[in-house]
Amino acid sequence: MELLGRQEVWNITYDHALGETASYFFTQIRDNGKIFGRRCAKSNKVLVPPRAFSDETLLPTTEWVEVGPGGRVEAFTFVYEQFNNLPPPPYAFGYVLLDGADTALGGYFKGVDLTNPREAAEALAIGTRVVTKFAEQRKGDVLDFWFEVA
């Protein structure tokens, strides 16, 4: 028998509130090109991106700490596939432990030749020193900055 189908598209707009902690973080990025984490007084760990509380001590974080702009690669991947609603490939992104932070921050890596992924993996090997770069026009978003090999 003939089997029929129907196409459906979900297109939903959300207007998310970011809350006090993330608002401060993004304001500092937008206005000053600086990245801040939050320190937990009990564990002494600096959480980046900043959170209002520590998931380990379950206590409120107490102090803003500027981190970076230098750091080291903690994880990376190179995407070569086009996914719907995601950027055109290829691109490199991953996580960096910024100087002064205890947890890693996600972002794009730029300036890496992705022609050969195995060579690119050597260039961005875990532990490689990188530096945070900021866009000249910033809107207060994680896409306002990226990482380049130092």
Binding site: L3, G5, E8, W10, Y14, H16, L18, G19, A22, F25, K45, L47, V48, P49, D55, E56, E74, A75, F76, T77, F78, V79, Y80, E81, F83, N84, N85, L86, P87, Y91, F93, G94, Y95, L97, A101, D102, T103, A104, L105, G106, G107, Y108, P117, A120, A121, A125, I126, D141, V142, L143
Partner: protein, 392 residues
Amino acid sequence: MTDRVGIIGIGQSNFRSRRDDASYPDLVREAVVPAMLDAKLDFDAIDAVVYSLSPDAMVGIGNAERLGVDAVGGRNKRFLRINTGGATGVSSVTAAYYHIASGVCDVVLTAGADKVGECGDSQTVLNKIWDPTYERALPLGTINMLAMSAVRYMKRYGMTEEDMAYVTVKNRRQAALNPRAHLRKVVTIDDVMDSRIISWPIKLMDCCPQSTGGAAMVLASEQFIRDNKLDAVWITGVACRAETYWMGDRMGNNPTAEHADAYALGRSFAQSYRMAGITDPANQVHVAELYAPFSNTEYHAIDAAGLVAKPGDSIKRLRDGEFELGGRVPVNPSGGTLCTNAIAVTAMARVAETALQVWGRAGTHQVDGARVGIASGNGGDHQIFGTMVIEA
């Protein structure tokens, strides 16, 4: 607790990319009916239904458990939906288990289905599991998240892209024996290595498919099973564990849950082994169905399950054939998640396949003499884990 909980009925679809002949509730029912026949019970015997359903957007039906109530005979019964992402299936069996272990119910049905093949945008859906505050603007998805786990596993334990390919080759060979599996074509190391790169080091053939199908299981109390002279296998260990949402907290300075590994999965296995009285899993477990949607993740799952002496030993031992059908502890004899991933029921299929193995009913992919099996599910993604020990 003296009264055990047994598995008395199992039903699974043949998993495919699409099923244009079946609506979503039709697929659920396709699994429920054989499970009920297997249990030799009618619906009046079911005290509660645990509905297994991961993100709504994957089936494209908001709160699809509404539509599923009829297919599971849920009218006027206790009814509960479970969603822990990829772990949903094992979480659902766990919830069914606790309905009985608590003494509230004698017989519980758990069932669900997924139609991932109808969702052209599964990575769009999965990108939405990241928080809108900090990380959503990044191109995160489950593939690149686990590619970053692979990169860290490479650094810590020396895994290579070829080591990853060995997992795919093993699981495809096993899936070829399993008529219910989705990807059943045998592939070579070269086929995997030559497949296109998706998110390095993960290539196309290191990835699970987007599958459509359903699964159902019927659980009952030991008393009910004895009173009704039913056949059963037993859930002797059950646990679940979660770890931090923040991927960046699983790296950096002294992380609790290292992103290369599956920390909370290891803790969950340890708990379920304690409950089952298993002290030496590498020698006491006969078969394992471990949730691993990408080839690299099977290594840290084997490590977390304690089937090797220390993390990273899984690489060489897999290459030596220890986890093949016919090897020391066959891992994913069904072909596993790498060959079939209907997300809402994938982790239930791990439990169901393990139960069939220790029951001696796995058919063409039976592990000879299996009496003790383990199953796991990972969800959230790679954040929330469930584990079981199942014994004949």
